[in-house]
């Protein structure tokens, strides 16, 4: 029972972590709470269903299921990255020098727009993700883990490790860290700040869309308002870990998933959505900068 809940929590947590990474990267660079990020994740989930239906109709699914799934995930990530890129260019870039609250409201506008855009084009009813995986699974230390759960945990793990490697080891990653530290200085050193910001949005949206496709497959149902609650949770996860910190977002996401899953089974499932915030408030009271973040310093 406990182990089962831990596995469920890990599955949920890795999804939160993937979304939280997008929040934390954007925040690290622009100090913007990107409210539209949850919507990008929702679009990813829809694209998973749409693309899968398309590939099934052309007969690719019958040929090779793994290849189709790979194509679905890659294409969904590409399209979502394009959405993220476009949103940044249209709604945030013109506000780069405005007061902190203006881009926030702009992000809320984008979020409302995207929700209704998907509702109008795809309908207000739930969309169903075809069950392709059956109920197969394997036993792991006296609990049953479905293949899908295992896949979600493994894929998220791989993506997080590669992101960390990308940010720490590549030249672009270095540029991202430089821009996060000091935009003006970075641009004086010849870093194209606009490009780095675009890359951040592209990478973050790609991660969110992978999370979206996996969640669509896991729960089997998708609707146009899933982005809102997942977005809030993921943002909470990012803050929990210390916003701006990439390992923090991963850890925060997984912790949040575990808390939610254990809280729902051992305390009360009615308050499932509240545990995240109770833990958050508790942790922030002790460590005002989040678990991995630096306490905000006062500049004089």
């Amino acid at each position: 029972m406990l182990l089962q809940q831990i596995i469920n929590g890990l599955t949920l947590g890795s999804v939160y972590a993937l979304i939280a990474l997008g929040y934390t990267m954007v925040y690290g660079i622009l100090e913007l709470i990107n409210f539209a990020h949850g919507e990008i994740y929702m679009i990813g989930a829809y694209l998973g269903i749409i693309l899968l239906a398309f590939f099934t109709s052309v007969g690719l699914t019958a040929v090779s299921l793994p290849l189709t799934l790979l194509l679905v995930v890659v294409l969904a990530a590409l399209i979502c990255s394009a959405y993220g890129f476009t949103v940044e260019k249209l709604a945030y870039k013109p506000l780069r020098n405005a007061s902190r609250l203006s881009p926030l409201i702009s992000a809320i506008g984008v979020s409302i727009f995207l929700q209704n855009y998907v509702m109008l084009t795809q309908g207000a009813t739930d969309k169903v993700f075809p069950s392709l995986f059956g109920s197969g699974g394997f036993r792991f230390l006296s609990t049953r883990v479905s293949y899908l759960q295992a896949a979600i945990i493994v894929v998220s793990g791989v993506m997080m490790v590669s992101l960390q490697a990308f940010v720490m080891k590549t030249k672009t990653g270095k540029a991202m860290r430089a821009v996060a530290q000091d935009k003006t200085m970075a641009s004086l050193l010849g870093i194209n700040v606009d490009k780095v910001i675009s890359i951040t949005f592209v990478v973050g949206s790609g991660l969110a869309s992978v999370a979206g496709v996996m969640v669509a497959a896991y729960y089997g149902l998708v609707n146009y308002f899933i982005g809102y609650i997942a977005g809030i949770k993921a943002f909470t996860a990012a803050v929990l870990g210390g916003i701006g910190s990439i390992p923090g977002a991963m850890f925060g996401g997984i912790l949040l998933g575990l808390v939610e899953s254990l809280g729902a089974s051992y305390i009360s499932s009615e308050y499932k959505d509240a545990y995240a915030f109770v833990v958050l408030i508790g942790i922030l009271l002790v460590r005002p900068g989040g678990l991995f973040g630096k306490a905000p310093e006062e500049k004089i």
Binding site: S99, S106, V110, T121, D273, P288
Partner: protein, 375 residues
Amino acid sequence: MRPIGGKAERFTKPLIASAWFSLLFLPFRGPEAAGVLFVVLAVSIPLLGAVSDRVKKTGPLRQGLENIGLKSRRFAPLLFAPLLVVPLAAGNYWIDVAVLAGIYIILALGLNVVVGYAGLLNLGFAAFYAIGAYSYALLNTMLGLGFWTALPLAVGITTLAGLLLAFPALRLRGDYLAIVTLGFGEIVRLVLNNWDSLTKGPNGISGIDAPTFFGASLASLPAYYYLVLFFVVVTVFVMRRVVTSKIGRAWIAIREDEIASSAMGISTMRYKLYACAFGAFWAGIAGCLFAAKMRFVSPESFTFMESVMMLCMVIIGGAGSVAGVILGALLLVFLPELLREAQLYRMLAVGCGLVFIMVFRPQGLFGRKNASPES
């Protein structure tokens, strides 16, 4: 937007943009719809570009808006007179909308104290609205208290809640504060939703009494309109007095630079507490008015989206400007109503509108340009 390069580029750029948007649209509605979108965009983007160039050159919009801010002060009493005759001229539907707008004006002005003056980002303001509404609902239905007895009690409870949240939350800064207030809002809503024995859960509380005035019931819409109008006028009056007082100036000082203001001898903690309590106070009044108008409350009316809408009212109008916030509230209540014909598309338009207003006027319609660049 700038016409860079030669003629060829002016031609190809809109085409590339249209193709890009159509491609993004393609998976959602199929190739035909994407084709239609491409044609529509390819025609409208150059047109819009020409219009925005023209507007930028003459800039009448910008100057006009800047002038309204100054003139409105002089004409405020003139604007007020027509408000008194609205119930005589308008149908019940529009009176209803106007009552709602009045309640939102009070809410937005309350939130404006917290966000616009003290500079504390609150993403869970609907929680106080909910506490006010539920306090009145419970005091009325369980203890049988009338509106005028329950109002001060309910408002007192809400103000206390504001203080209670402020104590721990004010240790946090910037966006950490924002997320904690967001969490507070969600927790309050979930408690209202699940505490069945007290709040009747998702079913809500019905059978709330309408206010009376010396024995006469104010249940009819026009009568209620005047009641709300009275409260709006009181709110605006008190607000103007407070924000220009010593306390108001202390808030602005804290918003602009916390360290400098504490060096000048302002007890930042105390004034932030005042701001939170004062903001919650108005949310409590608005909550009571809402509960007494609907005669029914349920957790559905106090979602995160509600908090977001209040914040939008404050920012769109121009945080820290009383007239601006009133305009923002009116805009966001009336705009969706005016667009009701286009039922399905109205929220799409509202989303677009928020982005447009921010992109073209980041400081809000009435905001000053140099107000508070950060936090």
